[in-house]
């Protein structure tokens, strides 16, 4: 009788420092099925799969492939067992061609036979419906092309067991559909596939079975046919998540920022932001909606003093309301803005590039904002130290210590550290870009709660988001950007998803601008 399971992982445990990434996890993959591995961010999905593909070695536990107990000590071992993984961050060498990347690390004759490689690549492509140009350099490829190359690479190596780590995160809906079609082709050809994801609709659309992890522990598995979004969410988060985000009525909002005729052109002279005029009020959350790349980044960076603007643009900061004194923010840089006493907090999209220094510890990252404080020529370490300790405690940051480099933290914990630091400066304006991107549901709610606290404190909060449900439930007003233009400002309490979606994709005619 043929073995039913392609893979069984039993009692797998793996720790990093003091953090248990996997705790006695169980997983089974049947032959010729697509299995979803579902869990929040930081639930240990990728860690588990890295142990199956030989990147990490488990502290304890057993792995069976095709019924036989195996030791997978390196990616080489994994390939020998027919296991191939497509990582979220592609493992491709930029300066090599597609064919060279495919051939990399394989045994064979001393000289690579390029023609034979190309022929075999073409054969795989034809069989499953991919398209790959063997001579194209990876640095010339789009994200979707790179992913296709990764999958072809694993198949070329004779993988029967494929692991895809959040493959759809970087794809457009059309590309996702194409990927799913290819995955079904592969399954029908007898391949066994594990797809890591935290998107419920994808689990339901593509997989035969689903295994759920939570905080590094195995929760259970079930046939997808018997599952629905509700039951999966319950298993994933451990308790029912109400989508009710708290939203107070703004208490006497006053005008804090006056944005007038804000126009930004990029280095190529393309207009990224076109004549934006709007007000931002203290004590409210202003949502900014739009398809990505429609000027959201330029808007926030202009206010923060990080963008060159076209002359005539103006952003006035009024610390005491519309009739008080005003401070022009355009033409300044973050340092001069801070020196003028404007407490502007910014949680950028690129957390480890712009927000925090990945190689520095939590304490040092706290210090970045205040190293100039005080008269002593030496930096004062006590305050940032206390601040880091407080943030770790209050926001429940999972970290071995406050002296750990932030790059070692998971995405959600990095964001908590960043938001915590920005809030600790007691800002009057708080700007955030995609503050919950890639975060699990619980961390997302923590962020919403923090933003609401700031709103109650009378801070003017700007929330650039991509999830319309969240925008509609969190924000008091929603500014919709479309192609760099301000298309509308809607009341968050009355606007509908369809309305916002429509305004994001189609510009209104002149004079129609309401609210």
């Amino acid at each position: 009788m043929a073995e039913e399971f392609a893979v069984r992982m039993v009692d797998i445990t793996k720790t990093f420092g003091h953090v248990k990434a996997n705790d006695k996890v169980y997983l089974e993959l049947r032959k010729g099925e697509i299995l979803s591995l579902l869990g929040e961010n930081g639930s240990g999905k990728t860690t588990l799969m890295n142990m199956l593909s030989g990147i990490y070695f488990p502290d304890s536990g057993r792995i069976y492939v095709n019924g036989k107990e195996v030791v997978i000590a390196s990616p080489h071992d994994a390939y020998a067992l027919g296991i191939g993984m497509v990582h979220q961050h592609f493992k491709l060498v930029d300066v090599l061609t597609a064919a060279e990347n495919i051939e990399l690390g394989l045994p064979g004759k001393a000289v690579v036979d390029r023609k034979a490689v190309a022929a075999k690549v073409r054969q795989i492509c034809d069989r499953y419906g991919f398209s790959v140009d063997p001579d194209k350099k990876v640095y010339d490829m789009s994200v979707s092309e790179k992913q296709t190359l990764e999958i072809v690479k694993t198949l070329y190596r004779g993988a029967d067991i494929l692991i895809l780590d959040e493959p759809t995160a970087v794809l457009t809906p059309q590309e996702t559909e194409k990927l799913f079609a290819v995955m079904r082709n592969m399954r029908d050809d007898g391949k066994s596939i594990i797809i890591i994801t935290h998107k419920l609709n994808e689990v339901l659309a593509i997989s035969d079975r689903v295994t759920i992890l939570r905080k590094g522990e195995y929760i259970g598995d079930m046939d997808t046919a018997k599952a629905d979004a509700r039951s999966l969410t319950d298993m994933m988060v451990g308790r029912t998540v109400t989508l009710n985000i708290r939203r107070d009525t703004p208490a006497d909002p006053e005008r804090r920022l006056e944005i007038r005729n804000l126009t930004v052109k990029d280095a190529e002279g393309v207009t990224r932001l076109d004549d934006i005029s709007m007000d931002v009020y203290a004590g409210e959350i202003l949502g900014v909606a739009g398809i990505s790349g429609c000027g959201q980044k330029e808007l926030l960076e202009s206010i923060a003093g990080l963008q060159n603007t076209v002359s005539g643009s103006s952003v006035k900061y009024r610390p005491t309301g519309p009739d008080g004194p005003a401070e022009e923010l355009i033409g300044q840089n973050p340092r001069t803005i801070a020196e003028k006493g404007v407490r502007l907090a910014f949680v950028p999209e690129d957390r480890l590039g712009m927000g925090l220094v990945a190689n520095m510890t939590l304490v040092d990252n706290m210090m970045l904002k205040e190293y100039r404080a005080g008269k002593s020529p030496l930096v004062e370490r006590k305050h940032p130290h206390d601040m880091a300790r407080q943030i770790v405690r209050e926001l429940e940051v999972v970290t071995p210590s406050i002296d750990t480099p932030v790059r070692k933290l998971s995405g959600g914990n990095v964001q908590k550290v960043l938001v915590g630091r920005e809030i600790a400066m007691e800002p009057t304006v708080l700007m955030s870009a995609y503050a919950v991107r890639g975060l699990d549901i619980n961390t997302s709610y923590t962020i919403y709660r923090l933003l609401n606290e700031q709103k109650r404190r009378g801070v003017a909060v700007i929330y650039v988001g991509e999830d319309l449900d969240v925008l509609l439930q969190l924000c008091d007003r929603i500014a919709v950007l479309c192609g760099g233009k301000l298309n509308a400002i809607l009341d968050g309490r009355t606007a509908t998803k369809e309305e916002v979606g429509y305004l994001m994709t189609s510009l209104r005619k002149k004079g129609e601008l309401g609210a």
Binding site: F57, P75, Y79, V93, V95, L104, G105, V111, V112, K137
Partner: protein, 327 residues
């Protein structure tokens, strides 16, 4: 014309020294290891070769050139590869900082070589200057019939075998990196070790092999300098170190391509010796002329940075150590 031929021949001799150094360093750097110990390794290669030849000539009743040559060649190769092994162990296995390790290796190599060089000079007695004349003559042997072909002969056939070996090694390295399977794997290790690792390449083994073989090639530069350039003597004037740094500059100038390093090395030689053929230079302007190779290297760096060609960049993970479970 005679002047030009003379400039070109001295440029080729000069270029051969740094060509060995540079090709070895390119092979090393392609694995992601920035070995700034090149000067030290060239010292090790040089002194080991001289010492081996010296003891052979001292103990053999009738020294035979070819035997001295083989012995010194093997000794130079072994000593410089040992230097590479020290560097490899420190940076790959212990993950020490590559810059610090490399610079230390340079100091170590120079010190060790000059210590033994001084001792050999004392052992040699007499004029206080050793000479391994028989072996050196074997290194400098050429085919008289070919070298006698007028200017062509002088320009192409008047050198010892190591000048031609250097070209062969450079072309071989070029072929290895661009055509062979192991070369492909090695380039991937230097670009992106995590990717190479995931693809099943043994990163540690490749780094060790490339660093040791690269050091072996670099060390031959020191051997050639001692046996051919200064004709089988030893001098503690620090020239090898200067040439070693020039070899490192040559790696950048050649944008990590061994084949390009060949003509670049000779160009460096022409630039370096140009002052000899320009009359009426003061001492100060001679030193300025000797700077030319460094100046053109800086210009190449600027040009490459401006062009932003992906092909002319250093290996992406150059200078970084690799640890698989690092997150």
């Amino acid at each position: 014309m005679t002047q030009l031929i003379s400039l070109l021949t001295s440029a080729i001799v000069f270029g051969t020294v740094i060509l060995y150094g540079a090709v070895g360093e390119i092979v090393t750097e392609k694995s992601g290891n920035l070995n700034l110990g090149v000067p030290g390794i060239m010292y090790l290669g040089g002194i080991a070769g001289v010492a081996a030849a010296f003891f052979y000539e001292m103990h053999a009743a009738e020294p035979i050139g070819i035997v001295g040559l083989l012995l010194s060649f093997a000794a130079a190769l072994a000593a410089s590869m040992l230097g590479g092994l020290i560097y490899a162990f420190l940076t790959i296995s212990l993950r020490a900082n590559q810059n610090v390790t490399g610079l230390t290796l340079t100091i170590f190599g120079a010190g060790l070589a000059n210590l033994f060089g001084g001792s050999l000079n004392t052992l040699a007695g007499g004029v206080g200057q050793i000479s391994v004349a028989v072996t050196s003559r074997a290194y400098r042997a050429y085919v008289p019939a070919l070298a006698g072909l007028g200017r062509v002969g002088q320009l192409f056939f008047s050198f010892g075998f190591m000048a031609y070996l250097a070209i062969a090694v450079a072309l071989g390295a070029s072929w290895f990196l661009n055509r062979s399977r192991a070369g492909l794997n090695l380039r991937a290790v230097g670009e992106d070790p995590a990717t190479a690792d995931a693809a099943g390449v043994n990163v540690t083994r490749y780094k060790y092999a490339a660093t040791c073989v690269g050091a072996g090639i670099s060390g031959l530069g020191g051997l050639y300098y001692a046996m051919d350039y200064i004709k089988g003597t030893w001098s503690t004037d620090g020239t090898i170190e200067a040439l070693g740094w020039l070899a490192v500059a040559l790696v950048i100038f050649a944008t990590w391509r061994p084949a390009r390093a060949i003509w670049s090395a000779y160009l460096f030689g022409v630039l370096y010796w140009a002052y000899n053929y320009i009359t009426g230079l003061s001492r100060a302007s001679i030193e300025l002329f000797k700077m030319l190779p460094y100046v053109v290297t800086i210009l190449v760096l600027v040009a490459v940075s401006l062009r932003r060609s992906k092909e002319s960049q250093p290996p992406k993970s150059l200078g970084l150590s690799y640890f698989r479970e690092e997150r």
